[in-house]
Symmetry: D2
Subunit: 360 residues, 4 copies
């Protein structure tokens, strides 16, 4: 029995088998902005190398089939419950997954999660070149070592243990003043953090939305009604350096439970690229009938704020909706005033939008 | 108790209720050809006015939500099993449905089905201005009256009672020579007719695919794996006259059970618009890795005919597939030779296609 | 061309075709009570014979495939917007559908909807032998004629035009005192009527839940998360007379948007038949682990009211849920106190239930 | 920063989180036989401890939510591509998963895959007490050590590298004569092995069907049209020793792509428990109409072999089908002769069944 042959045979078999499993990619529909590409990213997830339950390549396969552009595997640095059985080299998840990521055209970012008791809480450092130096006792020193590598660092799930434990402490001021962290998760998996959202706006921190997934992700593809929590990154190119530049510049929105959470300056043009009012196909003496396209993966809901138009307009993802507007001047152009209730520009505040119906 | 008020109240209630039911349209994805719009059409269906089981407006609602551009309600002229209870005016289905069709932007074509025992069989006359004159005894006279109205006429489900009953008779020659019919259904609902397909090619008849639906269509939207049998019409514009011109010119394909059946001159450019090979994202020393987009609603399957590339490539509808091609010259452009097994250009014959992978 | 042969051929073809369409029945899972069969019924729906959009047989097909036991087609008596095209004999919907109902084993109940402006509103009279005599001007007289035929009559969608228009008037007292109506819809299609619910309890009226469907029902089968509004009838047998007896005795519950609305005396034993706590499969020193079966088509949600057990227990339809209960005496029997939040026994009031976990 | 506290906090958090993920169990419907329980088992799967991609507990979670009764994690003994990062103690997968299995009431069987080049091929040894002694060079010695532990051993995916490589060699005779293996996989994941099937019948080996899963199983629940390949075990009790006794006695069937493959002596009574013909609900002068229940998770298809009844009867999983039988003696009992085309009792041979329709 020759072990070498056996292994060769296996490698060939596995490659062809895995190619079958990973060869479909279902793109997520969010259009590019006029000046930026809209990249779908998840910067927080785990594998068997900390407390996750999958091998690192599984995270790449999940990302590819769900249409993600970039991911960061961010295993806990200080917390490794499987260490009796699994290597403790913090660079291994990246090293094991990067070839598969290149094959499947998923941008893989080297990362780690700085995992301390809350407060001060957990932080992800991404765009690292070597995760191992971050495994050191002194808390602020960890951030300095991340900064030395040019990392982008964000505070994870701020209120996950309650608002008191998630409150802003002196150490956060130290880190913030030293520009040692630059973003916060406004949502993580199934939870939204309004305090983090407020701080992002007040302190000019980048808004992040991540899955923090530990188990296998069972979704074969992303669906509007069942999607991962993600960060949309408005980047100049589809490259890792361009993502880093966009995060440093704060050009993001979080996609969370059928909502987009972000700054008005990005959500307003994104809405305009998602929603298109067509020229009316019928004008009667007291109404116009037109179609509205929604080309994105969000089931958009609009509530009227003033003037003509129905009280509510539903625009399901990737569909065309038929709209009747009552009007005594059906040949004139119309401006319909609505609030886009799943485009969130501040805690409790939605984006105001205008639907322009062309005249004859 | 005032009946008038009652009715007014009802009309208002019904209008608002029905608006809710019909306001989503899920477009079918088949791209336009370089010179033509690709319209999704169904020219054969029934209502309570012959042996169908729905009111004519239901056919419009079904078409709108499934993303159809045009339909013809083609109730049997000579066969009206509900005539004890329902009006026998052959124009009523059109008259009752046309306002709703205009509201929902479905092009509604006035039509009737000439329904004689097989042989000679059933024929649909569409683009009629008045269906009633076609309700006359003499078979050939019916066709002459249709012709006088400028109708386009096609032979329905040729082999539905077996090849013998569906064979070509003298009367068909009479009709064909007189240019009294111009097309044939190559498929109808769940059945494909290879003899009809052959005759369409030999005799230059237009290929049609229709649902012939009698019951309510339960599909909320068209899905690649569960769609209506339809005719794709390659028309200069999205208007009824343009559809008529395209049918007369033979510019169609039938969409039937995840297959497209049509002439090579239309299927070849349609394939090229549906499938896009991207620039490779990875070139190793013995392989290139690239992505192939399929932007249409057909789960395309390709079988290799010669040269490099995998034996089979699956391109699910509206997705991106990852492709690895083994090659010793990864920087050179590649031409991959495949047969598109669900693009049918003649009975038993598939479209040959070339996938061009760009070089470095 | 022989018309007779043609028609014979057609009839044969249609019979076989329709047999294909209607031959699957997906049963709805609600267990029988100790003394009664639990029948799934819909007593309110429309066809082309009033303002509906389908032929009467379609209502039978829908009922059969969705697993209903009994339906009443209840076309409006006084309101027939299609009367220019469709017969006005009020018995025709029943007559046209009854043979198909017998073939598919759906119990078809002859009925009509007494349709007056609101107030006094709409009422369904079911178990009629002849609907036509109810087409008379005098409102109370209609009810007397229904009573003479032994009909069961209920008030439809009481608050559909607002609480004021749905308020209890003298005429309702007249009808009620004369025992001329015996039930009320507590829910109709997408709406629940708490006032009707309250009156049913106060005045001992039978609670009804119906679809009031006008368009084709697109559901291929009933699903827990997408089902028709129905009336569960607790009957001695699966026959029309037994249903009538049960309605007269008030033995019903309404199934509405994943909730059951009914009297405690029926919901309590129904819950006990739906939910089974198994014997624990694991007892540790501080917890027991057991399984709970939910054999019905309701996604049951339980909230803890007191004592041990998790704060909330989700019991998805037709599944088994794993339950861990913390306890210091794992070998002793446990009694877990919960509120079944989708078993509604009065407006705003849920059924209290006890889960008994067996001891060792 | 106290590491100990941190870890305690984490453990609590993870336990509650994972409880949420794993608490639904969707049972697979295959009825018990008159004398045996029908257990749903998968005896072949992998984790990160060999070439799989998940942590061992994931295999338990998958089994629980899909309604399995028992699994064996059977990591390769001689093949461990992750050994640079993961422990090589062959008992670890079992040890890490067994507590979770007890919590979720999944019977976990300790096992290993004897992985040699083909021929002689791969074999699973299950019901081991210690896997490590099987990691030894001499091939036959491995089997002897398994036998000493009382293991049940079966030959995996016999023809996976072609019939020549899967042919029966002297070493198989040695093992077989020494009673060192007792079963064969007749199907594995997506493949069926007719030669293995034939040998099972000829040599009285137990038929197995397994998933051999390496990646995460994305199914949330088992569906008739998308299920894992499993072994149905007809056991006296739901315990590990009872499963072992049943496997030794050959009481199994493989569930593979909507088919059951097994011995006639088990498939015949299983069919009778799955399919119930009800008493006819309608007898006309030339036909009877009755209902047939299919209570299992197989979409059963029947083809008529002789006598009355439709040419084909489709019995979708967990549904009731309406059946019309033409007969001149509708009051007499009927015996309908069919072949159950997805009950496979030998390569190319289906089970003959009789449907008995009661007389009046």
């Amino acid at each position: 029995m020759k072990r070498l042959n056996l292994i060769l045979v296996f490698v060939i078999f596995l490659l062809s088998a895995s190619a079958v499993h990973a060869d479909q990619r279902y793109e997520i529909a969010f259009p590019d902005l006029p000046s930026y590409k809209t990249l779908k990213c998840d910067f927080h997830m785990h594998t068997v190398f900390s407390d996750g339950q999958v091998w690192p390549t599984v995270r790449v396969d999940e990302a590819a089939r769900q249409g993600l552009d970039a991911i960061a595997i961010s295993d806990h640095i200080e917390y490794q419950p499987h260490k009796d059985d699994v290597s403790t080299n913090h660079n291994r998840p990246y090293e094991l997954a990067v070839h598969r990521a290149r094959m499947l055209d998923v941008l893989l970012i080297k990362a780690g999660e700085i995992t301390r008791d809350t407060p001060p809480g957990h932080f992800n450092a991404i765009f690292l070149s070597d995760v191992n130096p971050l495994d050191t006792e002194d808390f602020v020193e960890v951030f300095k070592r991340a900064a030395k590598q040019g990392a982008f660092v964000f505070w994870n799930h701020q209120g996950w243990k309650g608002e008191e434990k998630g409150s802003w402490r002196d150490v956060h001021t130290t880190l913030y003043d030293g520009k040692l962290f630059q973003g916060m998760e406004v949502c993580n998996e199934n939870r939204y953090f309004p305090t983090a959202h407020k701080w992002c706006l007040e302190k000019n921190l980048t808004m992040m939305g991540d899955s923090d997934i530990h188990t296998p992700d069972l979704r074969t593809k992303s669906l509007p009604e069942d999607h991962r929590t993600l960060t949309l990154v408005f980047a100049k190119k589809r490259t890792i350096p361009a993502i880093k530049e966009a995060l440093q510049a704060g050009r993001t929105a979080a996609w969370f439970k059928q909502q987009l959470i972000g700054r008005k300056e990005f959500l307003a043009p994104l809405f305009d690229k998602c929603v298109t009012v067509e020229c009316p196909h019928l004008r009667t003496k007291d109404a116009v009938f037109t179609k509205i396209r929604n080309d994105c993966d969000l089931d958009i809901v609009l509530k009227r704020t003033a003037g003509p138009g129905p009280v509510q307009i539903d625009l399901p993802a990737r569909s065309v909706s038929l709209l009747k507007v009552d009007t005594k001047t059906p040949d004139e152009p119309l401006e319909l005033k609505y609030s886009a209730i799943n485009f969130i520009i501040a805690p409790g505040k939605c984006l105001d939008v205008m639907l322009k119906v062309p005249g004859k």
